[in-house]
């Protein structure tokens, strides 16, 4: 058993989580779950930012993921408000039913 792991593993973990986020986004129909998948993808990206920051011994990556976090918070506030409105108007959370863009 090695005492430590290479940085690559962190990056691969980030990729796996990102892929899971994509899977959630593509396969799930519930709009809230889809939104959470997006948060998962953001987290995966944050992990790779911090990993690179470690590699470079530089704090800029942290700052960047800090901003990502801020944006995610703002996005969650607005996004959930939109979900509420959609639900109020259509009484559904299934993303396939909200397809007025199609016509």
């Amino acid at each position: 058993m090695p005492t430590s792991v290479p940085l690559n593993w962190y990056l691969i973990l980030s990729a796996i989580l990102f892929g899971l986020g994509i899977a959630g986004f593509v396969f799930r129909r519930n709009i809230i779950t889809v939104f959470m998948s997006i948060e998962l993808m953001l987290n995966a990206v944050n992990l790779s930012f911090i990993s690179f920051s470690y590699q470079l011994r530089h704090v800029d990556g942290h700052i960047f993921s800090f901003f990502v976090m801020v944006v995610a918070a703002a996005e969650a506030a607005v996004g959930l408000a939109i979900i509420l409105t959609v639900f109020k108007n259509r009484a559904t959370l299934a993303i396939d039913d909200v397809s007025s863009m199609k016509n």
Partner: protein, 618 residues
């Protein structure tokens, strides 16, 4: 500087005003603008000519360089010499009278402003043609008058025959214009200039060509242009049809001015023609053939305007006989007197037609002498003038021409004399059918207003005195030396005898015993019908030239090129876009999840590319 540019630009201003705002104006201001612009132009011509004095040499004004290409330098230059002076007076003078006449004639027709703006535009181009100091400017006017002729023949836009006649005139003239262009190319290539002065100065030292050469080619090509514009064999067919236009147009364009442009051009290029006896012979022969042929057709026609149209063709033939015989000044002389009496004939015919409410068929006229006496009086002057009765204007000019013809080749003289007899006959026939005997129509005739017969009166006076009052050959003597040789009195008597004989014969056949013409027509049967149907020339052209062109265009250009090839390409493009779009629109499902899937696929592809590139780097 005499500001020659004012002469053509005044009618152009009239055209612009009437063309742009005439539609909103009542008739009166429109006619005032149109007539005033021509009157001012006429006045400016008089002022210029009096200021320029005897005009021994040409007065040239250079305004600016139109274009410069290599050594060729074409300027907008206007020039006045004695030949131009004569033409200017005829064009603006007769043009002014016809404009005044048209005020009355067109009063009840639609498109009043359109008519007068076209007429003003015509004056502009005609004056450009006459004043231009180089071949190209002349050609601009040449084409412009063709355009106006087209517009005015087809003035009654709702009549299909008028539109067809306009197209015919335009297309037939194209053939002539093509010859003109080729002649200009030859001039540019060989003399490096288009200025009259430079070209003629270069030609003068050249020897007379005994066999066909460069000058013959140039002269003949110019003459092709002249046959088109001046309605000579074989391109005369458009002029009789051109009578579809309003009568003032027939008088102004198709009798007095535009159709004489070919004669003017031939006289202008006389230096070239004189050095090619062969071309001169061609001109004379074409002239004499045209004169005789058109006169025979004129005898058989019943439409009063058609009779005068063939008469015009015939008289233009006379002018070319003069040119071909080397008596250019006689040709111009006849041009001037013809402008007077033929304009008068047409305007008088217009007055008759006006009086009869649009009737043009001679068979439905008759006995109008008492009903419209003024019209009869003025028409009689023109009648006697064209018949060559001594003392009237036509006598002098025709006499000059026949004398010159006899001087160069007697057979032309004899044909000319016979034609003169026929001319007298058919005009007399028209007059007798129209004014003598008993009235055969139904419409109640009424005399034309003063605004119409006023100009007619002026023209009548000119038709009578124009011959001895304006001695054109004498005036043009510095440019075209007077023919030497004694004035043979016998020849004059012969031609006068033929003219009076023609009148007498017509009097016998149409007044004394009106049954004779039918007897003769029946006796001559096929020949009469051939002449009555204008020697079937239109049918011949239709079969030989028009229908092969039409059929070829239909099969090759339309069916194959246009419908098959070009439409195929266009439709093919549309079909292809549609097919591709049909496939692409499947992607636009409207389902966000499938979009996300596609984005993922795109990412994968990008990563693959990135991997390949990274592998390549390492």
């Amino acid at each position: 500087m005499q500001h020659l540019w004012l002469i053509p630009l005044l009618p152009l201003a009239g055209f612009l005003i009437n063309g742009l705002i005439g539609k909103r104006l009542p008739n009166f201001p429109v006619s005032v603008i149109a007539v005033a612009s021509v009157a001012l132009s006429f006045g400016w011509v008089l002022k210029t000519l009096s200021a320029l004095g005897p005009l021994e040499t040409a007065h040239v004004e250079h305004y600016y360089t139109w274009f410069q290409s290599g050594t060729l330098n074409v300027g907008v230059d206007l020039a006045v010499d004695r030949l131009t002076a004569v033409m200017l007076l005829v064009v603006t003078g007769v043009g002014l009278l016809i404009h005044i006449y048209a005020i009355g004639y067109m009063a009840h027709e639609g498109g009043y402003y359109r008519f007068f703006s076209y007429m003003n535009l015509f004056m502009f181009f005609m004056l450009t043609l006459v004043l231009g100091a180089n071949f190209l400017l002349m050609f601009v006017g040449w084409e412009g008058v063709g355009l106006c002729s087209y517009l005015l023949i087809g003035f009654y836009t709702l009549k299909k025959s008028a539109g067809d006649a306009a197209k015919k005139a335009f297309i037939v003239n194209r053939i002539g214009d093509f010859g003109f262009s080729l002649a200009m190319f030859l001039v540019v290539v060989n003399f490096g200039s288009l200025d009259f002065q430079k070209v003629f100065d270069a030609v003068r030292p050249m020897p007379v060509e005994q066999s066909a050469g460069l000058l013959t080619a140039i002269a003949l090509l110019f003459f092709v242009g002249a046959t088109g514009k001046s309605a000579q064999v074989p391109l005369y067919v458009w002029l009789p049809d051109a009578m579809e236009g309003p009568t003032p147009v027939s008088a102004l364009i198709h009798a007095a001015t535009m159709v004489t442009a070919g004669v003017y051009m031939t006289a202008r290029a006389s230096v070239i023609f004189e050095r090619s006896p062969m071309a001169m012979d061609v001109v004379a022969v074409v002239g004499v053939v045209t004169a005789a042929m058109a006169a025979t057709i004129g005898i058989t026609q019943f439409d009063i305007k058609k009779v005068f149209a063939y008469s015009t063709v015939s008289q233009l033939g006379y002018m070319f006989i003069a040119c071909g015989a080397g008596a250019f000044s006689a040709g111009i002389y006849h041009l001037v007197t013809h402008a007077f009496f033929k304009a008068l004939l047409f305007l008088g015919a217009g007055s008759v037609i006006h009086a009869l409410g649009g009737e043009q068929d001679l068979r439905h006229m008759g006995g109008l002498m008492k009903k419209i006496p003024i019209t009869f009086g003025v028409l009689a002057c023109a009648w006697l003038a064209i018949s060559g009765v001594p003392g009237f204007s036509g006598f002098y000019s025709k006499d000059e021409i026949l004398m010159a013809a006899h001087h160069s080749s007697p057979w032309i003289y004899w044909v000319g004399v016979v034609t003169a007899g026929m001319t007298a006959f058919y005009v007399s026939r028209a007059m007798f059918l129209c004014f003598f005997g008993s009235y055969r129509g139904h419409h109640h005739p009424h005399e034309s207003p003063f605004v119409m017969w006023g100009p007619l009166g002026v023209l009548a006076v000119l038709s009578v005195i124009g011959g001895w009052c304006f001695n054109v050959p004498h005036y043009l003597a510095p440019m075209f030396p007077l023919a030497e040789g004694a004035h043979d009195e016998t020849l004059v008597y012969i031609s006068v005898a033929f003219g009076l004989g023609g009148i007498a014969l017509a009097f016998l056949m149409y007044v004394v015993s009106p049954g004779i013409p039918d007897v003769i027509a029946n006796a001559l049967g096929p020949i009469y019908r051939l002449v009555y149907h204008k020697y079937l020339v239109d049918e011949l052209y239709g079969a030989v030239i028009v229908s092969p062109l039409v059929n070829g265009s239909r099969a090759l250009l339309w069916r194959f090129m246009d419908a098959g090839l070009i439409d195929g390409i266009v439709n093919g493009t549309a079909t292809m876009s549609r097919t591709v779009g049909g496939v692409l629109r499947l992607f636009q499902s409207g389902s966000i999840r499938s979009y996300a899937a596609w984005v993922t696929v795109g990412c994968v592809v990008l990563l693959m590319v990135l991997g390949v590139m990274a592998g390549g780097v390492q």
